[in-house]
Symmetry: C2
Subunit: 950 residues, 2 copies
């Protein structure tokens, strides 16, 4: 009990008692209790027990007339019923550890005791026994189709046919209805039942109450809906006229029985007083809603999270963090201290950490979700490969083209996913590299240096530099990458994704201009003719200005647009520069794919169809959207631009081979001088790679298998060299696709008790999906016949979705939204409870400005300095330490490693100490709680410190 | 208190006491209480009282570090704090009706009493007085823009600047901060304040508790955040170390003070015991949440509806309806028995009822919402007028065309909205009438009868028949139109709307076919040329087959498509039958308008921007969507089909005048025989009109001004005759547009206390919007220059929206959705709690089948029998009485009037009796409650009976 302010009633002995019994032996947890409440009802002439509610964790009620289970809801009790229950237990019969094997025997036993104690007149023995042994009718859930089939039969208006009847209560065997009950899968295997029987009878003038605990859980025939052995039995029979009260008392004991702590008391109680003490403790913890502010008729939906018995210990006195924890610690989930170790130094430590997981990295990939993930990421990857391949081809005069892009993506991706420290990362070409290649090619061309050889040497240098960074454990820099940097970077990349998708679409519109002057009636006035240039006679067979040899007789009117231009003809007419329908169709495909994906993703949260089907639809939303719009495109049959993959395995440029030789074409000093541009590439790769890895390894993703920054970098270095030798593009972690990869592999708990919310469990960490994606990319050359049906606008729609999806869930984005919300509508974010709004806004503003600056720089040729700008972000973040208090930063951002010392003084307790504490013993023990709270806070602070390298 | 089951504690005297004091005089309601809780805090060296929470109805807390108000939430209390508060009031000082004029004087008075009673040592007098007179610092809410401006200044990390400081507590005047406080508008004018002061001090060793009620509410300087006089004061000072406990006790008393019933007790209490009794009663009513099923850290959002003091009376023992009421009664809102009188017989009664509202029918129209409603409905009306005008023109060889349609719509609509019984109804042409006209015209043509004259006579007969129906009060038939019929009809009309919109779009695609074979590269191959037919020489000037006189020299290549056909040329080429872009653009406009309207409508429920702005956006969503897509259309500049209204005021067909003469063209017997088709028209009009009126007058719409079925029909009859004389189309109530009209005029309460949900108040019932819509329709002829920018696909998008919107909110539609939901995800509809799911499904299935049959019939020529089919629906509904129990029907449908007698026997109580009952007196009085519940049930049943005509 809490300390009393106004010298209230003396401290109850409840706490003392509970501390004693719960402390006895904590070796084995008690079984989960399934509680069923049956009420006595008149069915025609017969009395019977009808199931009226059940509890696994939350209450499910049989609707009055609906013959259906209500949704699981929080049991709202009246205080009165709890007090009445307390009195009932004080005055009624309490039998603990009764040796019972059948219901008749147990009932006899109870009645005998009551008669012995003079509480019951012996002549009522038969009557009570008769009532208690009436048969039980359970509410069984029927599938809808069967209910529909029932309709015809049940049309007479009778409403009783839907019940299953357990024929005889005295039967010891389980009925088929019990065994067939699908509800069983919601109940843990070792569960035991507690049965609550309440009813009014006409022969009693005072209530007959009994609470029984059996020595062994026993199956008592058709007593319980499911084949679960009964451990507890609560019986309340009373005089007529108070059925509602009896019901409330029944609900009260049922709710108590499913309470973690009370059920523990019930299992361990030595006598009646222990039970009463349990109720008193329960009462001390209940949450009270004022009657004027809440309508008791509203059924309260189960909360997302329920305090565990553990947490309930901490509720009293003062708790430092009201809801959630500062971001400085684990954020969502407590106790994941291992995950927070962002790296443990050195390549070998990385390998040591990853190796034990290696087998599971494969067998854990076998899951239906992996298929959708592979399809999704595969489409993203080939779109990326084609886009970048095309751009690289333009930039390097086809020294690296779409073919090289495909091959490089496949090779690098497969190797990386197979051996890296974080196989969830997806490698891809990135913008900065593209710009670097472009500049390098122009430089080589202008200075007569062989591009491929120079590039090879840069690759070799860069690889060596990467190894140096690995060897010196330079990845430690990531400890300065807080939420500020992470979010800035990933938002920027997302924006680039979104703007690229839109830019592509706009360029489509320009490529297929719409003739807005077209008047349907004047269709006769529109044409485009190919006329020979400079040649007065239209059918002259030769043209002096054209270098191509023209066919002897050229029918100009039969030439296509391209041919016409090729042969030097001139296109004359008002439709020449227009292409009908394609621009608008592309827009429809683009926007349609995007919106359909978004809608289907959201479908998971709708009420329609069973959960599994919805989850499937949600998982395959992108696939379904692509299929739909590919279908639509086929149906309409317009010549929209399609995905064209190379079909022949040969370098894009015929004058280059598959191997680049290191010597021979450039002077010797070039081999050394390439060290300098290599340095730029190394920084670029290092920053791009590591920050993407930080984002992937975010604690919110609850990764179990740890990270491997050094190992990742090592492989990126190796691949740099290999790709340089093969003349393939360079690859580095792609933030947005990696996030999409993770999102498509998220696991949620299959909720067990009805009403329990599914919890985010983590990510399906494995190497299989990644490997498959890249192997598929590699064999895409053979998939061309299938892939050619996919219109590019559909793929840009997927890009748009990826960009938008990776923005959601970023706190930065949520904070931007706050600008537009009046404060009273703002969501209840933990940081808003603790940091003044204008400080939050200021922090967001700084981020927006940083992003805007980066965006502008990124659009110029300075883009190759992009990685350096990320370093700039780190500096800005460091400066924020001067503007914001550490308290505020701990909530909005994370605390920089250097600042730990300041908080050190608060760290008094020992975290291990806290964990080992006996849960339930401490509950009744208030004096310790304050100390505990302090310790827990320290434990959280300790979490902060684990960020520093070990 | 409820009856006790297990001989629990003796019945407390609380109930008795409360009954006595609350029963004393119930003449005037007590003022609303605003409660503010201040806690004692150390600010540097100084002590001060800092506002930590406030209550108008729900709790708003000052966030720990956020310096912001939390969202209003339900106060969750611990049981412990309530018991501690009880003890505090038992042991502390309670001063009732103190003559106080300033805080120092009041404080002196309290301290003096405590010293007199020996509860306080005299040497603490100064210290306590010092503490209690420290200044109060309130949490004042700042607008965001000011907070942003603060950012620069406050960047030093200090977080204290946002507070306003009331300079001196002893000051009697109100500070400007208090007067300027915007929160004041959330508090009723006559409100009084109760101030709760809690804090820990180091000089006390036992708590100092005082509860003061002032004889007169007095403004005590800067004590309260808002300039509201203080009536109650609760002070709790205690030894250090228990601040959390004191806080909880403070929250408990504050929550009690805003409880309707306890505040009543507080105002009327004669002594300490009365207050304690008030707490006991409160405790008896509280709702208890088990600690294991709810996390106390979750802030509970205020419920949509809170039980009134009245309702709380009814909670105990048994209540027949758990949530909501059967549909047989008022549905949503109780106590609207007047609205349920669907008609009161006879034309004159209608007029008598409507006349007093006539002035308000105009001045109540002046509201911003009316503008959006007018624009919305206007666009719907002219689209309808053009669509039907075009179709009628086709059907009647332009005897009635678009011009007649506009004129008729304007004339009929204006007259009807001006004089009818239900001015919210919008008149329009409907499908059945169109089909009738078509058949009639064909008949006339084939039999050599003058169509216009025949039509005039049918109109005259029909008008007379309508008058007969009015005179005989035939509208009584509507009492058989239950939810079943209403929903069937309105769903059908909605489906027709939706399918018409989509059909129109599909026909667009056919009208503007897409050339799917177009290859951009072969643009040179596409052309369409006009070549002269049958004429070997291409430039011959005459053509024998064409009746038009051809120009002497015709340049065929210069002719447009239409001209080419006109002059008998032949169109040769592969693009002749295609129109680029228009089909796709139309689709984009159509779907864009629809989706944007839907999204903007939903925007009302988003978190962004202040409520008023959101409401504005939501109200004008259709207008904004139309503007956006008109703009987009203009921007792209394609020749999409536009809205073309006639610009000259003359009959569409030049050979008819504006007046149709009744005699001269047809033989005499036609005048008499037209009685027969007139009968069909009358039934058609009568059913269409009355069922639309029933839908508009639905009780869910909470109309205040009553209905006027007879008056409506009277005017429809008059307009029939007038339109027939003028040769204009006939008009009847249009269901979908009328529903849209009502939807756009819905009013919601401006919520008062923070956290209270806005309630649907009713519809802005007036004649102004309707009249404006039709006057605008009339002058549309002059608006042609503006209207010609609106593409038709945009208007079809509006049509689609209207159809879909009128489906939502229909219970039938909700029930259809149930088919696709697993029962555990189904919403908690009241009828689902009371009617077995398979019965609900069966009922829905019957409705679906009826609808399907109607749909099929409607698509054939049998459509003119449509009104008879509605009669068929009534028969089906009547037969359902045999399949479903009256209980089930009362929940899913309504009960047919004939069935009332069966329930008559249950009607024992007198409804007036129930209303006059003293609310609070009864509360503590349990024995009466059962009787009351029975009476309330009877009252509900009585509501049913009022459906029969009076």
């Amino acid at each position: 009990m809490m300390s009393d302010v106004c010298v209230f009633a003396p401290v109850s002995p409840a706490a003392e008692r509970l501390r004693y019994i719960l402390g006895e032996d904590d070796d084995m947890p008690n079984p989960t209790l399934f509680t069923e409440m049956d009420t006595l009802q008149q069915d025609g002439d017969e009395l019977e027990w009808k199931e009226s509610a059940r509890w696994v964790k939350f209450e499910e009620k049989v609707e009055d007339g609906g013959e259906r289970w209500s949704k699981p809801h929080v049991s709202t009790l009246s205080l009165h019923s709890l007090f009445e229950l307390r009195t009932c237990l004080q005055t009624g019969t309490v039998v603990l550890d009764l040796e019972g094997y059948s219901l008749p025997q147990i009932v006899d036993e109870i009645i005998e005791r009551q008669i012995d104690e003079g509480m019951l007149s012996p002549d009522l023995r038969e009557k009570i026994s008769f009532v208690l042994l009436r048969k039980h009718r359970h509410q069984t859930k029927k599938p809808i189709h069967r209910s529909l089939a029932d309709m015809g039969k049940a049309s007479g208006g009778g409403a009783r046919h839907a019940h299953s009847r357990s024929m005889n209560d005295i039967a010891d065997t389980l009925s088929t209805d019990q065994l067939r009950n699908k509800f069983m899968k919601k109940i843990p295997r070792d569960a035991e039942a507690s049965n609550v029987l309440v009813g009014e009878v006409d022969f009693l003038d005072k209530p007959f109450v009994a609470f029984v605990r059996l020595a062994q859980a026993t199956t008592l025939g058709g007593l319980t809906e499911v084949p679960v052995p009964t451990r507890f039995l609560f019986i309340l029979l009373g005089p007529t006229g108070k059925a509602k009260s009896y019901n409330q008392i029944g609900r009260a004991i049922a709710t108590l029985m499913v309470d973690d702590l009370f059920s523990d008391v019930a299992y361990k109680a030595r006598d009646r007083e222990d039970l009463i003490a349990g109720i008193d403790e329960f009462l001390d913890e209940v949450i009270v809603l004022p009657p004027g502010e809440w309508d008791p008729k509203i059924r309260i939906e189960p909360p997302k999270k329920v305090p565990t018995a553990d947490k309930r210990l901490e509720k009293s006195v003062h708790s430092l963090n009201e809801l959630g924890q500062p971001n400085g610690t684990a954020g969502g989930s407590g106790g994941h201290s291992e995950d927070e170790e962002m790296f443990c130094g050195g390549l070998f430590l990385d390998m040591k950490r990853k190796l034990p997981w290696f087998p599971s990295d494969f067998y854990e990939g076998f899951h239906i979700q992996s298929i959708s993930a592979v399809l999704f990421i595969y489409l993203g990857c080939i779109t990326n490969a084609i886009t970048f391949g095309g751009l690289l081809g333009d930039a390097t005069d086809n020294y690296q083209g779409v073919m090289e892009s495909f091959l490089g993506t496949a090779l690098s991706g497969t190797v990386f996913c197979m051996f890296s420290g974080q196989p969830l990362i997806i490698l891809s070409s990135t913008g900065p590299i593209l710009i670097f290649e472009k500049l390098l090619f122009e430089f080589s061309k202008n200075n007569g240096i062989d591009y491929m050889e120079l590039r090879l040497w840069i690759g070799i240098h860069s690889c060596i530099q990467c190894f140096l960074l690995v060897a010196t454990d330079a990845s430690y820099i990531i400890k300065y990458m807080t939420r500020f940097t992470e979010e800035g970077f990933s938002s920027l990349i997302s924006f680039i994704f979104i703007s690229d998708a839109i830019k592509k679409m706009v360029s489509h519109t320009q490529y297929y201009p719409i003739n807005t002057d077209f008047k349907p009636d004047y269709v006769t006035a529109y044409k485009c003719e190919c006329l020979p240039l400079r040649s007065p006679s239209p059918y002259s067979s030769t043209s002096k200005t054209v270098s191509y040899s023209l066919p002897s007789y050229l029918d100009w009117s039969q030439l296509s647009k391209k041919e016409c231009v090729k042969y030097g003809g001139s296109l004359v007419g008002n439709t020449c520069k227009y292409v009908p329908d394609l621009a608008l169709m592309s827009f429809i495909l683009f926007f349609g794919t995007y919106s359909m994906t978004v809608s289907l993703k959201k479908f998971k949260f709708s009420r329609y169809f069973p959960t599994k089907l919805r989850k499937l639809i949600s998982d395959f939303s992108i696939f379904m959207a692509i299929m739909t719009f590919v279908g639509l495109d086929r149906l309409i049959g317009l010549k929209t631009p399609k995905l064209i993959v190379p079909t022949e395995f040969k370098p894009t440029r015929p004058d280059r081979g598959w191997i680049v030789l290191p010597f021979g074409k450039n002077p010797w000093w070039v081999y050394l001088a390439s060290f300098v541009p290599a340095l730029l590439v190394t920084i670029l790769i290092f920053m791009d790679q590591q920050i993407s890895a930080v984002i992937v390894n975010r604690k919110e993703n609850k990764l179990r298998k740890g990270c491997g920054y050094h190992l990742d970098l090592f492989w990126v270095g190796v691949l740099m060299a290999v790709c340089s030798f093969l003349g393939l593009p360079w690859y580095v972690a792609a933030t947005v696709i990696s996030i999409a990869h993770i999102d498509s592999l998220k696991m949620e708990s299959e909720s067990s008790a009805p009403g329990e919310q599914p919890q985010f469990l983590g990510v399906r960490e494995q190497r299989l999906t990644g490997i498959l994606v890249f192997v598929l990319t590699g064999v895409s050359i053979f998939l061309a016949p299938v892939l050619q049906f996919i219109p590019m606008p559909v793929l840009y729609g997927v890009f748009l979705y990826m960009g938008v999806a990776s923005l959601s869930g970023i706190q930065f984005w949520e904070r931007i939204k706050l600008y537009m919300m009046p404060s009273k509508y703002q969501p209840d974010f933990p940081f808003l409870r603790h940091v003044p709004l204008r400080r939050v806004h200021l922090f967001t503003l700084v981020q927006i400005i940083c992003l805007a600056v980066l965006w502008v720089l990124k659009s110029t040729v300075l883009a190759i300095l992009f990685p350096v700008m990320i370093l700039g972000l780190l500096v800005v973040r460091k400066m924020l330490d001067m503007v914001f208090s550490q308290h505020d930063l701990a909530w909005i951002d994370d605390i920089l490693p250097g600042k730990d010392k300041k908080k050190d003084k608060k760290k008094k307790g020992d975290k291990d100490d806290t964990k080992k504490k006996d849960k339930k013993k401490g509950r009744a023990d208030d004096s310790k709680d304050k100390v505990r709270n302090v310790k827990i806070y320290c434990h959280q602070l300790a979490g902060l410190e684990q960020k520093k390298p070990c």
